[in-house]
Protein backbone atom coordinates (compact mmCIF):
# COMPACT_ATOMS: atom_id res chain seq x y z
CA UNK A 1 0.00 0.00 0.00
CA UNK A 2 1.33 3.39 -0.92
CA UNK A 3 0.71 5.31 2.33
CA UNK A 4 1.98 8.65 0.99
CA UNK A 5 -0.52 8.58 -1.85
CA UNK A 6 -3.41 7.96 0.59
CA UNK A 7 -2.43 10.98 2.68
CA UNK A 8 -2.20 13.22 -0.35
CA UNK A 9 -5.62 12.12 -1.56
CA UNK A 10 -7.22 12.64 1.83
CA UNK A 11 -5.74 16.10 2.18
CA UNK A 12 -6.85 17.05 -1.30
CA UNK A 13 -10.39 15.97 -0.43
CA UNK A 14 -10.44 17.96 2.79
CA UNK A 15 -9.11 21.18 1.32
CA UNK A 16 -11.50 20.83 -1.62
CA UNK A 17 -14.44 20.68 0.77
CA UNK A 18 -13.12 23.67 2.70
CA UNK A 19 -12.73 25.70 -0.48
CA UNK A 20 -16.29 24.84 -1.48
CA UNK A 21 -17.58 25.87 1.96
CA UNK A 22 -15.71 29.16 1.75
CA UNK A 23 -17.05 29.82 -1.73
CA UNK A 24 -20.57 29.14 -0.51
CA UNK A 25 -20.06 31.68 2.26
CA UNK A 26 -20.55 29.10 4.98
CA UNK A 27 -17.27 29.85 6.66
CA UNK A 28 -16.12 33.39 6.97
CA UNK A 29 -12.72 33.82 8.50
CA UNK A 30 -12.65 36.00 11.63
CA UNK A 31 -16.31 36.80 11.36
CA UNK A 32 -17.57 38.22 14.66
CA UNK A 33 -20.45 40.32 13.49
CA UNK A 34 -24.11 39.66 13.13
CA UNK A 35 -25.04 40.40 9.58
CA UNK A 36 -28.68 41.17 10.20
CA UNK A 37 -30.03 44.68 10.13
CA UNK A 38 -33.75 45.26 10.45
CA UNK A 39 -34.09 47.36 7.29
CA UNK A 40 -37.88 47.71 7.57
CA UNK A 41 -37.74 48.98 11.15
CA UNK A 42 -34.92 51.43 10.47
CA UNK A 43 -36.61 52.74 7.31
CA UNK A 44 -39.87 53.43 9.19
CA UNK A 45 -40.69 57.13 9.11
CA UNK A 46 -43.12 57.34 12.02
CA UNK A 47 -42.63 56.15 15.60
CA UNK A 48 -45.76 53.99 15.30
CA UNK A 49 -44.40 52.17 12.24
CA UNK A 50 -41.00 51.73 13.88
CA UNK A 51 -42.62 50.21 16.98
CA UNK A 52 -44.80 47.97 14.84
CA UNK A 53 -41.86 46.64 12.85
CA UNK A 54 -39.95 45.66 15.99
CA UNK A 55 -43.11 43.99 17.29
CA UNK A 56 -43.57 46.50 20.11
CA UNK A 57 -46.82 48.20 19.08
CA UNK A 58 -48.51 46.86 22.22
CA UNK A 59 -45.78 47.98 24.66
CA UNK A 60 -46.95 48.62 28.22
CA UNK A 61 -45.73 51.66 30.12
CA UNK A 62 -43.37 50.63 32.86
CA UNK A 63 -41.55 52.39 35.69
CA UNK A 64 -38.88 49.71 35.57
CA UNK A 65 -37.36 51.09 32.41
CA UNK A 66 -35.10 53.95 33.42
CA UNK A 67 -33.89 56.66 31.08
CA UNK A 68 -31.21 59.15 31.98
CA UNK A 69 -31.36 62.00 29.52
CA UNK A 70 -30.64 65.73 29.81
CA UNK A 71 -33.79 67.91 29.86
CA UNK A 72 -32.16 70.38 27.54
CA UNK A 73 -29.53 69.45 24.99
CA UNK A 74 -27.58 72.40 23.69
CA UNK A 75 -26.21 70.40 20.81
CA UNK A 76 -28.62 67.94 19.20
CA UNK A 77 -25.76 66.19 17.41
CA UNK A 78 -24.56 64.61 20.65
CA UNK A 79 -27.26 63.82 23.19
CA UNK A 80 -26.14 61.33 25.83
CA UNK A 81 -28.72 58.76 26.84
CA UNK A 82 -28.31 56.11 29.50
CA UNK A 83 -30.82 53.27 29.75
CA UNK A 84 -31.28 50.66 32.44
CA UNK A 85 -34.04 48.09 32.45
CA UNK A 86 -35.08 46.67 35.80
CA UNK A 87 -37.69 44.45 34.17
CA UNK A 88 -36.60 40.91 35.07
CA UNK A 89 -35.36 38.91 32.10
CA UNK A 90 -34.86 41.85 29.75
CA UNK A 91 -33.37 40.59 26.50
CA UNK A 92 -33.33 43.72 24.39
CA UNK A 93 -33.59 47.50 24.51
CA UNK A 94 -34.68 49.71 21.61
CA UNK A 95 -34.44 53.51 21.33
CA UNK A 96 -37.01 55.48 19.34
CA UNK A 97 -36.57 59.25 18.85
CA UNK A 98 -40.09 60.26 17.88
CA UNK A 99 -39.37 63.44 15.90
CA UNK A 100 -36.36 62.16 13.94
CA UNK A 101 -36.80 61.47 10.19
CA UNK A 102 -36.12 57.79 10.93
CA UNK A 103 -37.23 57.37 14.55
CA UNK A 104 -35.57 54.05 15.39
CA UNK A 105 -32.04 54.85 16.56
CA UNK A 106 -30.95 51.42 17.70
CA UNK A 107 -31.76 48.11 19.22
CA UNK A 108 -29.48 46.13 21.52
CA UNK A 109 -29.80 42.47 22.46
CA UNK A 110 -28.30 41.15 25.66
CA UNK A 111 -27.17 37.58 26.34
CA UNK A 112 -24.64 35.52 28.29
CA UNK A 113 -24.62 37.65 31.44
CA UNK A 114 -24.82 41.08 29.82
CA UNK A 115 -26.83 43.48 31.99
CA UNK A 116 -29.76 45.26 30.29
CA UNK A 117 -27.91 48.54 30.28
CA UNK A 118 -26.63 50.73 27.50
CA UNK A 119 -25.25 54.23 27.24
CA UNK A 120 -24.81 55.97 23.91
CA UNK A 121 -24.90 59.34 22.18
CA UNK A 122 -27.63 60.05 19.68
CA UNK A 123 -28.58 62.80 17.26
CA UNK A 124 -31.86 64.51 17.95
CA UNK A 125 -33.10 66.74 15.12
CA UNK A 126 -35.53 68.80 17.19
CA UNK A 127 -37.08 68.69 20.65
CA UNK A 128 -38.58 65.24 20.89
CA UNK A 129 -39.89 62.52 23.10
CA UNK A 130 -37.46 59.61 23.29
CA UNK A 131 -39.16 56.30 23.84
CA UNK A 132 -37.29 53.28 25.11
CA UNK A 133 -38.69 49.79 24.69
CA UNK A 134 -37.42 46.87 26.75
CA UNK A 135 -38.34 43.35 25.75
CA UNK A 136 -38.67 40.64 28.37
CA UNK A 137 -40.26 37.24 27.96
CA UNK A 138 -41.86 38.22 24.65
CA UNK A 139 -43.54 41.30 26.18
CA UNK A 140 -42.59 44.91 25.62
CA UNK A 141 -42.23 47.58 28.29
CA UNK A 142 -41.91 51.24 27.42
CA UNK A 143 -40.76 54.42 29.07
CA UNK A 144 -40.33 57.85 27.56
CA UNK A 145 -38.68 61.13 28.32
CA UNK A 146 -38.54 64.44 26.51
CA UNK A 147 -35.43 66.31 25.48
CA UNK A 148 -35.41 69.94 24.35
CA UNK A 149 -32.92 70.69 21.63
CA UNK A 150 -31.63 74.18 20.95
CA UNK A 151 -29.40 73.30 17.96
CA UNK A 152 -30.55 70.44 15.73
CA UNK A 153 -28.48 67.34 15.15
CA UNK A 154 -29.46 66.73 11.55
CA UNK A 155 -28.77 68.76 8.44
CA UNK A 156 -26.71 71.96 8.32
Amino acid sequence: MNEGRRVVLRRAGATGALAAALAAGLLKPERVLAATWNTAAFAAKTPADALKSIGAADALDSKDVLIDLPQIAENGAVVPIEITSNVPGTTSIAVVIEKNPFPLAGQFSFMEGALPYVKLNVKVGQSSVIRVIAEAGGKHYAASKEVKVTIGGCGG
Partner: protein, 102 residues
Protein backbone atom coordinates in the same frame (compact mmCIF):
# COMPACT_ATOMS: atom_id res chain seq x y z
CA UNK B 1 -13.00 57.62 7.01
CA UNK B 2 -13.58 55.06 9.69
CA UNK B 3 -10.55 54.68 11.92
CA UNK B 4 -9.33 52.68 14.90
CA UNK B 5 -11.42 51.77 17.93
CA UNK B 6 -10.63 52.07 21.61
CA UNK B 7 -11.97 49.80 24.31
CA UNK B 8 -11.78 50.41 28.05
CA UNK B 9 -13.05 47.58 30.21
CA UNK B 10 -12.94 47.93 33.97
CA UNK B 11 -14.05 45.86 36.94
CA UNK B 12 -16.70 47.23 39.25
CA UNK B 13 -18.60 45.79 42.17
CA UNK B 14 -20.35 42.80 40.60
CA UNK B 15 -20.03 43.82 36.97
CA UNK B 16 -17.60 44.70 34.24
CA UNK B 17 -18.04 48.05 32.54
CA UNK B 18 -17.16 48.02 28.86
CA UNK B 19 -16.72 51.33 27.09
CA UNK B 20 -15.92 51.59 23.43
CA UNK B 21 -15.12 54.50 21.16
CA UNK B 22 -15.48 53.96 17.43
CA UNK B 23 -14.15 56.35 14.84
CA UNK B 24 -16.81 56.71 12.21
CA UNK B 25 -18.38 59.67 10.36
CA UNK B 26 -21.96 58.36 10.87
CA UNK B 27 -23.28 60.37 7.92
CA UNK B 28 -27.06 60.52 7.97
CA UNK B 29 -27.59 61.13 4.27
CA UNK B 30 -29.55 64.27 5.22
CA UNK B 31 -26.61 66.64 5.36
CA UNK B 32 -25.68 68.80 2.38
CA UNK B 33 -22.36 70.33 1.43
CA UNK B 34 -22.58 73.06 -1.24
CA UNK B 35 -26.12 71.97 -2.01
CA UNK B 36 -25.14 68.36 -2.69
CA UNK B 37 -26.32 65.65 -0.33
CA UNK B 38 -23.60 63.73 1.47
CA UNK B 39 -24.35 60.01 1.04
CA UNK B 40 -25.35 58.05 4.13
CA UNK B 41 -22.45 56.21 5.75
CA UNK B 42 -23.06 54.76 9.17
CA UNK B 43 -22.46 51.71 11.34
CA UNK B 44 -25.33 49.25 11.25
CA UNK B 45 -24.21 46.30 13.33
CA UNK B 46 -22.00 45.91 16.34
CA UNK B 47 -21.08 42.89 18.40
CA UNK B 48 -19.49 42.67 21.83
CA UNK B 49 -17.86 39.41 22.87
CA UNK B 50 -16.31 38.46 26.19
CA UNK B 51 -13.94 35.48 26.09
CA UNK B 52 -15.39 34.48 22.73
CA UNK B 53 -19.05 34.56 23.84
CA UNK B 54 -21.34 37.14 22.30
CA UNK B 55 -22.85 39.29 25.06
CA UNK B 56 -24.35 42.23 23.20
CA UNK B 57 -25.53 42.56 19.64
CA UNK B 58 -26.58 45.99 18.47
CA UNK B 59 -28.30 47.31 15.40
CA UNK B 60 -28.00 51.05 15.06
CA UNK B 61 -29.10 53.76 12.68
CA UNK B 62 -27.69 57.02 11.38
CA UNK B 63 -29.19 58.68 14.48
CA UNK B 64 -26.19 57.59 16.55
CA UNK B 65 -23.71 60.45 16.93
CA UNK B 66 -20.46 60.73 15.00
CA UNK B 67 -17.58 58.76 16.51
CA UNK B 68 -19.98 56.63 18.56
CA UNK B 69 -19.30 55.88 22.21
CA UNK B 70 -21.12 53.02 23.90
CA UNK B 71 -21.13 51.62 27.41
CA UNK B 72 -22.27 48.12 28.21
CA UNK B 73 -22.22 46.11 31.42
CA UNK B 74 -21.62 42.44 31.93
CA UNK B 75 -22.29 40.60 35.18
CA UNK B 76 -19.22 39.36 37.04
CA UNK B 77 -16.07 39.00 35.02
CA UNK B 78 -12.46 39.05 36.08
CA UNK B 79 -9.23 40.80 35.25
CA UNK B 80 -7.72 39.67 31.98
CA UNK B 81 -11.04 38.68 30.36
CA UNK B 82 -10.82 39.32 26.65
CA UNK B 83 -13.30 41.82 25.25
CA UNK B 84 -13.71 41.81 21.49
CA UNK B 85 -15.82 44.40 19.70
CA UNK B 86 -16.55 44.67 16.01
CA UNK B 87 -18.79 46.66 13.69
CA UNK B 88 -19.93 46.75 10.08
CA UNK B 89 -21.38 49.75 8.27
CA UNK B 90 -23.80 50.24 5.40
CA UNK B 91 -20.94 50.26 2.88
CA UNK B 92 -19.73 46.86 4.07
CA UNK B 93 -16.69 48.28 5.82
CA UNK B 94 -15.86 46.70 9.14
CA UNK B 95 -13.44 46.89 12.00
CA UNK B 96 -12.76 45.00 15.18
CA UNK B 97 -10.50 45.23 18.13
CA UNK B 98 -9.72 43.44 21.37
CA UNK B 99 -8.76 44.49 24.87
CA UNK B 100 -8.34 42.84 28.25
CA UNK B 101 -10.40 43.77 31.31
CA UNK B 102 -8.26 45.91 33.62
Amino acid sequence: MPGPMKIRATMHDGYTDIRVLMNHPMETGQRKVDGKPVPAHFIQNLTVKVNGKTVVEGQISQAVSRNPVFSFRVKGGSKGDKVQIGWTDNKGESNQTEAAVA
